[in-house]
């Protein structure tokens, strides 16, 4: 039951883009077409889940035992950067077709703040405060990270669908480009507010 709560909370109620403001850059940058949005969403899901597991283990078996928690930021960002590189190399070798689909997005992911953000939230265990009954252990943290990434993909694909339609409409000159995209995101965020109180 608690797993279901975590998943619903992470995808809808506390959606990473619309209520936590993480990963806005790729959200605005690669959302002009549904195909690319889906590719980016898949790449983020893959990297975020892996990165969270690795950083959680580092936090609990290296940082905390040696009392060097203040090195968290430096260690996590380096591990994430290295991990993204490794995933790129491994994918190229093992599954060229998957690499073809995700390859272009992988380098962009290092500076995607939702990866580092979620890694820190799960490492510190602060995420569990938002879901009643959740415990900040590895299994639940990983599920939370995976669901958060799915929430990111959902937001990205929804937004891309709207933007594809928007491209065909006439928009006032001052609103063209980023302003209209932000306004659309604002309305979507308002819609997602409807989920608050579900969990």
């Amino acid at each position: 039951m608690v797993y279901l709560l975590i998943i619903i909370s992470a995808i809808f109620v506390n959606n990473i883009v619309f209520s936590q403001f993480l990963g806005i850059c790729p959200f605005l940058g690669v959302s002009k077409k549904i195909d690319t949005a889906a590719g980016m969403g898949a790449a983020v899901t893959f990297v975020l889940t892996l990165a969270t597991v690795v950083t959680y283990l580092l936090q609990h078996f290296v940082l905390i035992p040696f009392h060097v928690e203040f090195l968290q930021t430096i260690l996590f960002i380096l591990v994430i950067a290295a991990l993204v590189q490794m995933i790129e190399i491994v994918l190229k070798k093992i599954s060229p077709s998957l690499y073809q689909a995700l390859g272009v997005f992988l380098p962009l992911i290092t500076t995607n703040c939702c990866i580092l953000g979620v890694a820190i939230l799960v490492g510190d265990g602060t995420w569990a405060g938002k879901v009643p009954g959740a415990e900040a252990n590895l299994l639940q943290g990983t599920i939370y990270a995976f669901a958060t990434a799915v929430g990111f993909a959902v937001a990205l694909i929804l937004f891309a669908g709207i933007r594809e339609q928007l491209a065909m409409n006439k928009i006032p000159k001052a609103m063209q480009g980023t302003p209209i995209a932000l306004l659309t995101a604002g309305l979507l965020a308002m819609a997602f507010m409807g989920f608050s109180g579900v969990v």
């Binding site: 403001f21 820190i120 939230l121 000159k173 209209i180 306004l183 995101a185 604002g186």
Partner: protein, 195 residues
């Protein structure tokens, strides 16, 4: 002299990180619930930006080209950790509100972007000015956005009441208001810049 002035005003106006380059959107939207919060986030970023620009500029001939991105990230992350510890010690209340977004300065595209685009090619003095200009530009936009949201959302400006008590459109303090306020501010600036 004019080059120095140009470097400084570039980030402040022409290439303003938020309204011109549209970089660093996450902290811009997340931390501007009030003018003070926006300003503190801007100043924290300003500090990291100036320090990392200077250090990277001094090290630019020592860092091998192949590993320059990881090296820059380590420099930036060190300064971010410094800000984090300093704020925790001296400004615990603000550190609490900004929370996660202080460590996330590391992945703010402005910082790495300026290191790569400016500090790696110019001397330390100019890089410091560039960091200062960009940082102040960022602080300015965050403060303006924060002030607008605070005024509309709770009828206050820098924590001082402007409108009567029960005034306030709560939505502007919440998530959707961030997107909407920034959208209209950006449209306004696009309109003014054209003329």
């Amino acid at each position: 002299m004019s080059k120095a002035l140009n470097t400084f005003t570039n980030g402040l106006l022409r290439e303003n990180p938020t309204f011109g380059l549209v970089l660093g959107m996450c902290p811009t939207l997340a931390t501007t619930t009030s003018a003070i919060n926006g300003m503190s986030m801007g100043l924290a970023t300003l500090f990291v930006l100036v320090c990392s620009n200077v250090v990277i500029s001094l090290l630019r001939n020592l860092i091998p080209d192949k590993v320059h991105i990881p090296a820059y990230i380590v420099v930036i992350a060190s300064f971010v950790t410094m800000v984090q510890l300093l704020m925790q010690a001296y400004l615990p209340a603000i550190y609490e509100t900004l929370g996660l977004f202080i460590p996330l300065i590391v992945v703010n595209c402005i910082v790495l972007g300026r290191a790569e685009a400016f500090a790696a090619k110019n001397n330390a003095g100019l890089s410091a000015l560039d960091g200062l200009g960009m940082g102040l530009g960022f602080t300015l936009s965050l403060t303006v956005l924060g002030a607008v949201r605070e005024l509309l959302g709770s009828g206050m400006c820098f924590n001082m009441p402007v409108f009567p008590e029960n005034y306030g459109m709560l939505i502007f303090v919440l998530a959707p208001g961030a997107f909407i306020a920034l959208a209209y501010l950006m449209a306004l600036i696009q309109k003014l810049m054209k003329k």
